[in-house]
Amino acid sequence: MVGVVMRGGGTAARLALQDVQATGGAQLRLWVFTGSETTSRREAVAVAESLAADPRVVAVVGHTNSPASLAASQFYNEHRLPQISPTATADLYSAAGPYSFRLVPGDRRQAAFLAIHVARLRPRAQVAVVYVNDDYGRGLRAGLVRSLAELRVRLVYEAPFLEGGGENRELSDFASLAEGVGYAGADVVLWLGRWPELEVCLPLLRQVSPEILVFASDGVESDPVFHEAGGRFTGLRFVRFVDTHAEDETLGALRRRYRMLSGRELTSQSLLAYEAIRLVAEAVRAGAQSREAVRTYLNSLGRTRPPYQGVSGAIAFDRNGDNVRPYELAVVTPQGFHPLAASQ
């Protein structure tokens, strides 16, 4: 059995299961969680405890974000349960333990990538960094501030915020935040967070400065952003891991199937969740019937075994359990996501 703790992971899980069965793979059962436990740290701990205590679970795919993934990782490592996080990018995750794997590199690379493109586009930019004050945003922010300083890009304002509604939304006070950005004279905003808050803050920022240029981290890639949500995200430049609209037959078929099942666009997160489930299935098919065997299989990729050839590309893990894959900088257009640049 495989635990899947991902927001939107239900569709990815179903698609993965279908494809595993279609190829005659191992008999796999999925235990899927798609609620707040995928993102909340406290709830992530509870889910991790139950998954780790169940001896039938040989691997976990999740959680959705870095804070939840980090909070749960200690339970998984204590119980020797392999965890594959599709999109947790916090640098700290690399030190979570030998049973923690992820399909994306750490935030330091992303921060450098963003800083470079900001510097290229606006060498004399006055940058405001707005970041979600959690493991994800803090890590990105620290890297970004360092990279901007190295590139001599002027940082004029920094503002943390919190995700979620209620008290968090109140505390974040995006209106005053946008005022602060404007007061600081920033012409570039680096948004280090996810799309729901950006959707609230972006119009406020444009009110303060219509020409303001917004770069975002990978957290904003989502179906609503893809469909532009009324054009508010047009011109938004963001980082993604996979061009899910690339010219690829397999990817195209998967994208179409995903859209049919969920009514949404396939994002990097969904795709990498699918990849992670297929990877565990492959480990089971190769004879890994236990947690330790799954971990051994994952460590062997790129060493004693060739990398796993997923839809998104080759997958192999370095000694920190990270799969180093390239980034892409894309822009939101009325036609969808358009690639701008890619990392090496």
């Binding site: 990782s73 030190a95 803090r138 920094e158 915020f161 505390l171």
Partner: protein
């Protein structure tokens, strides 16, 4: 139960000991391991708890620093205030996040996430206040900062709760460890009780099963002390019972063997006693034999010169008077008489010694006592009567004993002679000889006198012991008497009569009338101490009137040869002499003689007996004409011939008249 009884005790004890030992070892090792693990857990838990406290303190310090910075910025805003605030915040974040890699309970992890959330909110809440302060609206800034301080306070509480959770966790760990330790203590206590129970049980079992061993040990000790009647009462069917039964069998066997050994020891003791007596007798006999051999040799050597001395003494005595007046006669009496007397005495001594050294007779025979005693009486009655002494005899007829006839006469004669000597010297009236049957097996013969008695009755039978003056006795007479009596199987004792006088008591074994003894025949010429010599012809008897007989004298001793030549010349014989038997043989091969007078033992390849044997083969007629002159008629080499033809032997030293008489008889 039978199976249990037969179970090898040793196996049981070994197995039991092994189990108990292993259990003890296992318990000890287990206790040590558990104690070690508990200590390690406690140490680690304590260290972790202390680390958590330290981290919580650092979080608080970081938050305090942030709040302090915030206050400062609110009071005096500067461009770097927020940056410093964020730097402190990063430190707090990193400190909180270090909990990620610690061993935390579920509650602690939840609390850490809560602390993190509160810190995140604190920082977010500070931003608007900082913005307002930077814009100069300090009042509004302070108002907006209220949320920040609230979150700081909540953060302080949450941190304290985390510490409390750590303490609770530590307390729980201590309680768990204490509980585990109590369980271990209980287990060890239970095991100790089990071990004690096992020991007590084993001890009882051993006592029960080994008390037979104690009985066996006691029985073994008593056996070692010599108690052969000890037995072990054990009814067990196991190996201890087998050992006990084997022990009992062994003791019984030892007892039987002991009895057997005792019996054999007694037999052996008796045999040893007999052997000792026999050995003593053999030693004595050997001594006597050796002495006899020595004496025989000595006697033989003495006889030759004595024969010369005696012969010449007689010649001297006889021929001296013929030389003239009475002075030679007086000289003959004064010198030749003592010379003759001494020579005779020496001859008697030698004869006694030869008698002493003589091998015992073939064996005793049935002898009538009365005729033997009558023969002795006939010999000595006249002498005694001449001294005025009595000789009383009281011996019944046909009282037959087991003895040697001649020796019995000698015995009685010796005793009578001793009594006569004692009476003559010390006074007394006479000697009595009495014989009576003592029992169906024994005869008692008593010779006693009323003289001075025996001075040392225990020594009278010792060789050469004598109370007589020098020259009056040899000291061997009673020794010979005891020897003869002992050889017949009898005993002799010497003592004194209560009324005074000596008493010799002889016990002789009775015999049947087979081979009844003849009367007192003439004693053998070669035995008989002090016996009168045979009647001799008067000295100077004339020779036969026919043609002179031819006589060959063979003698290696030159003096004896000349003596015989001189003596034979008195008989008017033609005498040829030869000092070697070989020469005599050569002569006899050519010549004929009427008589050969030959010494027996001569040096060279041929002696007298050899000459005789040659003659018996080569000149049988001549063998009838042999006469031997010998110094030892008891010599085994001649004893057979002496027994067969005693008349052919003249004993050296001889008296002249005796010699001449024998020559005349042989030529006749």
């Amino acid at each position: 139960m039978r199976v249990l009884r037969r179970t090898h005790l040793r196996t049981l004890l070994l197995a039991g000991s092994a189990v108990v030992t292993l259990a003890g070892l296992a318990a000890t090792v287990g206790a040590l391991l558990v104690s070690g693990a508990l200590l390690r857990d406690l140490r680690r838990g304590t260290e972790a708890t202390l680390e958590k406290w330290a981290r919580a303190d650092r979080v608080r310090e970081g938050v305090y620093a942030q709040i302090s910075e915030a206050r400062r910025h609110l009071e005096q805003p500067d461009a770097w205030g927020p940056q410093r605030f964020r730097r402190h915040g990063t430190q707090v974040y990193e400190e909180i996040r270090l909990h990620l890699f610690q061993a935390l309970s579920r509650e602690e992890r939840v609390q850490v996430e809560k602390i993190l959330e509160l810190h995140e909110r604190l920082e977010v809440a500070a931003r608007p206040a900082f913005d307002l302060a930077w814009r100069g609206d300090r009042g509004a800034a302070w108002m907006r900062s209220e949320a920040m301080f609230r979150y700081a306070a909540a953060l302080e509480d949450a941190t304290s709760e985390l510490t409390a959770l750590g303490l609770k966790d530590h307390a729980r760990l201590q309680e768990d460890l204490a509980s585990t330790f109590r369980n271990v203590q209980a287990a060890i206590g239970l095991l100790a009780l089990l071990l004690i129970g096992a020991f007590v049980g084993a001890a009882l079992l051993l006592m029960w099963r080994l008390s037979p061993l104690a009985a066996l040990a006691e029985a073994t000790r008593r056996l070692g002390a010599g108690d052969l009647d000890v037995r072990v009462q054990v009814k067990a069917e196991d190996e201890i019972g087998e050992v006990a039964r084997s022990f009992n069998e062994m003791v019984a066997s030892v007892k039987r063997t002991q009895r057997d050994v005792d019996r054999r020891n007694r037999q052996l003791s008796r045999t040893v006693e007999r052997l000792k007596r026999t050995q003593q007798e053999l030693v004595e006999g050997e001594k006597m034999r050796a002495m006899g051999v020595m004496l025989a040799g000595l006697a033989h050597e003495l006889n030759n010169p004595l024969a010369s001395v005696l012969g010449y003494a007689e010649l001297l005595r006889d021929e001296l008077p013929a030389l003239g007046d009475g002075r030679p006669l007086e000289l003959a009496r004064e010198t030749a008489d003592p010379l003759l007397a001494e020579a005779r005495r020496a001859r008697n001594l030698v004869r006694t010694l030869l008698e002493f050294s003589r091998k015992p007779a073939e064996g005793p025979e049935a002898v009538d006592v009365r005729p033997c005693i009558e023969a002795v009486v006939a010999l000595r009655r006249y002498v005694l009567s001449q001294e005025g002494l009595r000789l009383d005899v009281d011996v019944p007829a046909e009282l037959v004993v087991r003895a040697d006839r001649v020796q019995l006469q000698q015995v009685v004669l010796n005793l009578v002679n001793n009594a006569f000597d004692a009476l003559r010297a010390g006074g007394g009236t006479g000697v009595s000889i009495r014989a009576r049957p003592e029992s169906a097996r024994w005869v008692r013969l008593v010779v006693e006198d009323d003289g001075v008695g025996v001075a040392e009755p225990d020594r009278v039978f010792d060789p050469f012991y004598t109370t007589k003056p020098v020259g009056a006795g040899t000291g061997l007479g009673l020794t010979l008497v005891r020897r003869f009596v002992t050889e017949w199987g009898g005993t002799i004792t010497a003592g004194n009569r209560p009324q005074g006088g000596a008493r010799f008591t002889i016990r002789l074994p009775r015999a049947s009338r087979q081979g009844a003894v003849e009367g007192a025949g003439e004693p053998a010429s070669a035995s008989g101490t002090g016996a009168a010599g045979s009647a001799a012809d008067a000295p100077g008897s004339p020779a036969p009137a026919s043609a002179p007989c031819r006589v060959l004298v063979v003698e290696d001793e030159e003096p004896l040869l000349r003596l015989q030549l001189r003596l034979l010349s008195r008989l008017g014989l033609q005498v040829f002499t030869s000092s070697a038997a070989v020469d005599a043989r050569d002569f006899l091969a050519r010549e004929d003689v009427d008589l050969v007078i030959s010494d027996v033992k001569m040096p060279g390849e041929l002696d007298g007996l050899g000459l005789y044997r040659w003659a018996a083969e080569a000149r049988p007629e001549l063998a009838e004409r042999f006469l031997f002159v010998s110094g030892n008629l008891h010599d085994p080499a001649v004893s057979e011939l002496v027994a067969a033809a005693p008349d052919r032997f003249i004993s050296k030293p001889f008296e002249v008249e005796e010699y001449l008489a024998r020559i005349r008889a042989a030529l006749a």
